[in-house]
Amino acid sequence: MKRIFATLRIAARALRRNLMRTTLTMLGIIIGVGAVIGAVSLTNGAKSQIEAQIASMGQNVILVFSGSFSRGGVRSGWGGAGTLTIEDADAIRREIMGVTVISPESRTRAQIAAGNQNWNTQILGESPDYFDIRQWPIVSGSSFTEQDVRSANKVAVIGKTIADELFPGEDPIGQIVRVKNVPFIIVGMLSAKGLSVQGQDQDDLMVIPYTSAMKRVQRVTTLNSIMVQAAKPTLLAPAQQQIIELLRQRHRITPGKDDDFTVRNQQEIAEMATAQSKTMTVLLGAVAMVSLVVGGIGIMNIMLVSVTERTREIGIRMAIGARGGDILLQFLTEAVTLSVIGGLLGIAMGIGVSKLLSAQYAWPTLIPTQWVVYSFLFSAAVGISFGFYPARKASRLDPIDALRYE
């Protein structure tokens, strides 16, 4: 133990003696580890937000979009030109077993106004079930009702951002907001959700009855999508299958023809979203490997130079009784100190950079604890494996030859 401490001290001194060289050598490891930590925090942050967002869709959710994926998976009018009708939604509600709540959806962006304030926002036409499915509490006022849907009433629930933009410092409940010159009464306000992964403001929206959206805002007769919630996870797959059969029948699609709608469950949507960030992580891992190996080669190079430069010192140490193992340990310690300090600085840099990014650009970041541990261990391993050859070379020197070395 004491000997390890003494060896560490010798290593620290040897490294301090050539501070410039030490720093340059470490740089490879610092940049490698820093890049990994920084990039992984970014992708991790994105991933966790995507996951949170998908979880916020509610549980056991099936989405039915109008339009379809072509066979190659290429998008063709996904959620676009309407093929889904209110009757389809009613049929699903009536005939599919295990479906608890559904919300037909009609989405658009529109200019809204209150007094002399203008704002461009997303208008969602939904059923009152929407708030249940998404588990999105209304913090003041209340939701609109089934009656409002049946009568296509001009009522709205708004997100926090709209309240802030159109009614700063006022209570928005009971106020009038005009959408394409149609006045809506605000009946409720949603709790704030903040930014999404893509940096979008999730509170910048207005939810109105889907019938009102279709008749009074969009003037269309079809829905963009239908959100369906199954009662239990086990009912998800059968419900999905039944919905497909029901809609094919209703839309009179003959066998062999493609669906004119798309059914996806939450799991599938989550997978699509996270697949990308997984590839990203793997790619980053590979880049990290390469840069750390390059850093390791730098360490090996410097250690070889160091062994040659210090041949006489090695000779002196051996002459007064250092064993080959002592010399090996000393140079290995030096290499590992180099790589571990580089690794720690790299971790600090990675965390710093990602903190800076998230502060500066509001990018979500998540410091990956296990990656911090991995990169620490990996940089130590780099030191050991790339320091071993030079250290062994030093330890095998002949004392008398080393002493005579000029």
Binding site: R312, I320, G321, P399
Partner: protein, 253 residues
């Protein structure tokens, strides 16, 4: 009791690249008993350093037998030789061989770092300071080699050789780079250590210096050609006093 050093027909052949072998030591047999103080002399290239390196377990003989304290050294592996160098032998080099940019104290502590029975930090300090005090250099403990004179550096090297308390002290031309007064001071240190019971073997080619020892071996062409006890041994303290008096006389006149 076995001799400290027992050499039997020791040979050393250096194989150089051009197929030209150098027969540096050609069969040396000798014994050194505990408590002796021996000087090896001889002209340049006669094989003195080569023999010392073999005796110091820094190099291996090409032939013959070397028993150190009755132990046959030729059968030992690298680690065992390292341990012998660490514990049994103190070696002093002609070129000091101190670690640069490392204080005198830390240079002296170095052999204890490789000691099997590891000492406490406090004990190491104490021993190193003790060794430096033996060579009258305690007040320079924190100086680096480049801040010390040649004689002081050599004394640091002696302190380093002593710190693990070896029974045998080997010195290859310890006064080779020093002026005569400093050389006599070093011999004074050796005489003091020898009086304490440490066996000393040193190489020198200065006859004056050899007269401070008890026994002189003379080498020529890789062989010992003469082995005599020193008849009128000089005492370093007396000589130093005489030198100083002479110095003063010169200054006065």
């Amino acid at each position: 009791m076995a001799a400290v050093i027992h050499l039997e027909a020791i040979q050393k052949i250096y194989r150089t690249g051009g197929g030209l072998d150098v027969h540096a030591v050609r069969g040396v047999s000798a014994e050194v008993q505990a408590g002796e103080f021996v000087a090896i002399m001889g002209s340049s290239g006669s094989g003195k350093s080569t023999l010392m390196n073999i005796v110091g377990c820094l190099d291996r003989a090409s032939g013959g037998r070397y028993l150190l304290d009755g132990l046959d050294v030729s059968g030992l592996n690298r680690d065992q030789l390292a341990d012998i160098r660490n514990e049994k032998i103190g070696f002093i080099f002609q070129g000091f061989n101190l670690l640069s940019r490392t204080s005198a104290l830390e240079n002296v502590e170095l052999p204890m770092l490789y000691l099997h029975r590891s000492l406490s930090h406090h004990e190491q300090r104490e021993r190193a300071m003790g060794a430096l005090a033996t060579v009258n250099l305690a007040e320079r403990a924190h100086h680096h080699p480049n801040q010390l004179s040649g004689g002081q550096q050599q004394r640091v090297a002696i302190a380093r050789a002593l710190v693990n308390r070896p029974a045998l002290l080997l010195a290859d031309e310890p006064t080779g780079n020093l002026d005569s007064q400093t050389s006599i001071e070093i011999m004074g240190v050796f005489q003091k250590l020898n009086d304490q019971g440490i066996t000393i073997v040193m190489v020198t080619h200065e006859l004056d210096i050899a007269r401070f020892t008890k026994r002189n071996l003379i080498m020529r062409d890789g062989l010992i050609v003469s082995d005599v006890a020193v008849a009128e041994r000089l005492n370093a303290e007396t000589e130093l006093r005489r030198l100083r008096d002479a110095h003063q006389a010169v200054q006065l006149s």
